[in-house]
């Protein structure tokens, strides 16, 4: 599965680069003639390439590949920023080229907050390796030792004679040098960084403000048809029969194509439906509205989310499968009668990126299929399309556009498969345009869930027993039909990975069947686990009569690295080793301490207002959030949010701050409003009127602090989200005495 870790940069050697070239050579002759805005895709016929990521032109300009997908996290700036730093390149001469699907880049799967944390070292090596080759080229040219050649600010100088050559002058010669072996490569010391850690402006900013960017929805290809697809509203259903006679009367409609049901797990298969292909989007939409389709809904018609959630709430109050067990929980609960228990729920959630999914496909005369799409995972999209169409992987070319938000949705390749199938059927290029209704009603939803927590306090208000249970349909169900058991990576997402200093701990999980497509949404299982965990700590603090901050410190115990694998639970730790990324209680405390300082924790607030604290470690980063809310006449206002994050070494400080700012708003939407409900197997919401998002007038003041750290980079895109929801509900409790355990809050308050 994509959420599970994969090896990253496979090599930086020229030999492999040349091999990589063979994969897709010549693919770009056509693409470069098409009228595509400003995104340059990787040109496979590059001259003066030093490795797969770096090409230096004679005029000193440098092309650096961004192999990951830009969806707002700033990766098209931060990846080149790392490479350019180690390369000693002049940033103003750097041009960012978007990498196509190509295994030579290593994993391109842009999720799991992984782009920097997993590839930081390799990206530095790629830059440093090219810097070495430039120095070697100069040394050869001057017939001197490489040790006398210094690369600095886009040129190499000979330290004895003072002669210098620019990178552009050296480029051709450097491209013929052998790359150095990695073990002899010297990387920069932190004090030598020019760009890493700095606030560089986003590379795409000028195009964004001028409206000249190219997103997946923006692709235009000559002779292209646009498809709007009516998909079966119940998962597993199919078309029984349909009548398109009225559709065909709509001006601009060219073809109507049925898409069949793919048997087995939902995977990234297209949903069954009927596609209307027209010369423009409006005709396609109008034509689709005129379709008369009779559906065979299938078994999932019986799914009702309200009943399903009620059942989860009941099941988590009974024993489940144990995934972590320390001490003797039964005995501890017998001994310590001061106990707290609570059940928390979070509904299904939709991704709802501002850009609904879109993909364009065309077939070349030699049978190859080329696609352009806002995809988080071009390699997997390529492989999925190849399999669906019976093509070899190297017959499928995937170009990555900008992504207008993604949050996990665009890691799923179903819409690329739709485009490829329709382009084949139509015999001409096809762009599939998802509407907002399609997006809300046919998503891969964040799992609906219930959690049960039970804790026991001793006379000193020390937690002596901690029991937690969780139940939600697992992501595995998307890939394996009837899979019901939560995956280890889901249980390690803020549930069985708790760091608390408690002698008796048991974590249990309860199977849950899936009746809709389940996907991963920004921070995945940490969404519901983070909400439940920080809520429950707050409830325990109240029961103990202690301040929440003091209680968190007590629960975390001494400053230490907590063992990853405890009580029989193997914590995957987001793919990182305990040595590189231990669970460190000191780092938890530091973010809590700073957040409390900034928020004036403990200060008097006016009647009807309150502060709430939550803290969570996910994707190897530690984030504390304090929300300040006001409740007046049952209207809930989030006035201010204080966020402190420790994400290890930072690459682009401004973009990290932006990610945290965005995570506050994203989490606030979940806490206050987001709710997908399902009746008779069908999603009841359809657009932003009934699946609302935080708007400007609701948006609180936000104060973000990023801790300066020498630690290895942690994740950034996701870790801001998990603490947000409980920080708000805990603040609501502080303000009103009302404990809200079921999201979203707009069921209880006007927001």
């Amino acid at each position: 599965m994509d959420v599970i870790d994969k090896p990253i940069i496979e090599n930086v050697s020229r030999r492999s680069f040349l091999k990589g070239l063979g994969l897709a050579s010549g693919s770009f002759v056509l693409a470069t003639t098409l009228p595509f805005g400003h995104i340059a895709m990787a040109d496979t016929a590059k001259h003066n390439a030093l490795n797969v990521f770096i090409t230096i032109h004679a005029n000193n300009h440098i092309d650096i590949i961004c192999h990951r997908s830009e969806m707002g996290q700033g990766v098209r700036t931060s990846i080149p920023q790392i490479i350019a730093d180690e390369l000693e390149a002049d940033w103003s001469l750097v041009n960012v080229v978007q990498g196509m699907a190509n295994n030579a880049y290593g994993s391109q799967n842009t999720d799991g907050s992984s782009s920097i944390r997993k590839a930081f070292l390799q990206l530095r090596q790629i830059g440093a390796s090219a810097r070495y080759m430039l120095r070697q080229a100069a040394a050869n040219f001057w017939q001197v030792s490489i040790d006398e050649c210094l690369a600095l600010n886009h040129q190499v100088s000979h330290q004895i004679t003072g002669k210098s050559l620019s990178y552009g002058q050296l480029a051709e010669l450097a491209s013929m040098m052998a790359p150095p072996s990695l073990d002899t490569l010297r990387l920069k010391d932190k004090s030598e960084f020019n760009y890493i850690g700095k606030k560089l402006a986003s590379i795409d900013l000028p195009d964004i403000i001028n409206g000249t960017t190219t997103f997946g929805q923006d692709i235009q290809i000559p002779n292209m048809l646009i498809a709007s697809i009516s998909r079966c509203p119940v998962i597993g259903g199919k078309v029984k029969s349909f009548d398109a006679s009225l559709t065909r009367k709509i001006k601009g409609v060219k073809q109507v194509v049925e898409i069949g049901l793919t048997p087995g797990a939902v995977n990234f298969h297209p949903l069954a439906g009927v596609a209307v292909l027209a010369t423009n989007t409006f005709s396609a939409i109008k034509g689709r509205e005129q379709l008369e389709i009779s559906w065979d809904y299938g078994k999932n018609l019986a799914h009702q989310s309200a009943e399903y959630l009620a059942k989860r709430q009941s099941l988590v109050q009974q024993p489940g499968k144990i995934c972590r067990d320390e001490g003797d929980i039964g005995n501890a609960f017998k001994q310590h009668v001061k106990q707290v228990n609570a059940v928390y729920t979070v509904p299904y959630l939709a991704h709802a990126p501002m850009e609904p999914p879109a993909a364009t496909a065309m077939f070349h005369s030699d049978g190859r299929c080329e696609l352009w799409a806002c995809t988080q995972s071009p390699q997997r999209a390529r492989d999925t399309v190849a399999k669906a169409l019976g093509l070899d992987k190297d017959q499928v070319l995937v170009n990555v556009t900008l992504l207008g938000g993604a949050f996990g949705r665009k890691a799923k390749a179903d819409y690329l498969v739709e485009a490829a199938i329709l382009a084949k059927a139509a015999g001409q290029p096809v762009k599939v345009v998802w509407s907002r209704e399609d997006d809300i009603q046919n998503d891969y939803y964040h799992a609906i869930s219930a959690q049960y927590y039970q804790g026991a306090l001793d006379d000193n208000n020390q937690v002596q027993a901690w029991l937690s249970r969780t139940s939600f349909p697992p992501i595995a169900s998307t890939f394996k039909k009837k899979a019901q058991s939560q995956g280890k990576f889901e249980l390690a997402g803020g549930f069985a990975d708790i760091p608390f200093d408690v002698r008796n701990i048991r974590c249990e999980h309860i199977d849950a069947p899936a009746f809709v497509r389940i996907g991963w949404l920004r921070s995945v299982a940490n969404i519901h686990h983070g909400f439940a965990q920080s809520s429950f700590v707050d409830e325990l603090a109240v029961a103990a009569g202690l301040d929440a901050k003091d209680f968190w410190f007590k629960l975390l115990g001494d400053n230490k690295n907590v063992a990853l694998n405890r009580g029989g639970f193997k914590n995957g730790n987001y793919g990182a080793s305990a040595k590189d990324h231990p669970i460190n209680t000191d780092r938890y405390k530091e973010v809590i301490e700073l957040a409390c300082q900034h928020a004036g924790w403990g200060k008097e607030v006016p009647e009807g207002e309150g502060l709430g604290l939550a803290v969570h470690r996910s994707f190897l980063s530690y984030v504390a959030v304090i929300s300040h809310v006001k409740v007046l006449n049952n209207h809930l206002q989030v006035k201010k949010m204080y966020c402190v994050a420790d994400a290890g070494q930072i690459v682009n400080l401004d973009r990290v701050e932006a990610q945290m700012e965005g995570a506050m708003i994203f989490g606030m939407s979940i806490a206050l409003m987001n709710n997908i409900s399902i009746k008779d197997g069908q999603v009841e919401q359809s657009n932003f009127h009934d699946y609302p998002m935080t708007r400007m007038a609701q948006a609180p003041e936000i104060e973000v602090t990023i801790i300066e750290s020498d630690g290895l980079p942690g994740g950034v895109g996701e870790p801001g989200v998990p603490p947000v929801m409980a920080s708000i509900t805990n603040a609501v409790y502080a303000a009103t005495g009302r404990r809200i355990r079921d999201l979203p809050l707009n069921k209880q308050f006007s927001v």
Binding site: G72, I209, G211, F215, M354, R436, M696
Partner: protein, 158 residues
């Protein structure tokens, strides 16, 4: 065949009278700076100016605008009536490094230009009212608000 005025240029377009302006811009004129977000006037990603006022182009049939002047993100800096505001707003967007994914930003910028064009120094409440029709799923509201204040200061000084 209908004639429409986009960014001070006359365009003849052969579309059905009920076609929303959004799809004429994107599919016929290939001006894709104006974005499709919801199709129901709920998100503001498709905001353009109609005689200087912000409107949602996804919900505006082409037949209703044949006598109007339409300004889009691509042409807003060249529109004499609000060029200086547009330049100030875009500059403020750069100063604050506002966008994340960028998809909603054309619409945000068009709403912000219309706001400042109408009110040289909007307060928080006025910004909230003018901008709450524009959703940003990435959550850039804090920076949008800062940028609007920066831009309004710039415009006010001139």
């Amino acid at each position: 065949m209908l004639t429409i005025d986009i960014n001070d240029q006359q365009h003849q377009v052969d579309v059905e009278a009920d076609t929303p302006l959004l799809w004429v811009l994107r599919d016929v004129l290939h001006m894709t700076g104006t974005k499709f977000g919801c199709g129901k006037g709920l998100c503001g990603a498709c905001t353009v100016h109609l005689n200087g006022k912000p409107v949602r182009s996804c919900s505006l049939p082409i037949s209703a605008i044949t006598t109007a002047k339409i300004t889009t993100i691509e042409g807003v800096e060249n529109n004499l009536s609000n060029a200086s505001t547009a330049i100030a707003v875009k500059q403020a967007w750069i100063t604050e490094n506002v966008p994340q994914c960028g998809y909603c930003q054309s619409g945000q910028i068009m709403s912000a230009i219309a706001l400042i064009g109408n009110n040289k120094s909007p307060n928080d409440e006025e910004i909230n009212i003018a901008m709450s029709g524009n959703l940003c799923r990435c959550g850039t509201y804090k920076r949008i608000k800062s940028a609007i204040k920066t831009a309004s200061n710039d415009v006010g000084e001139k």
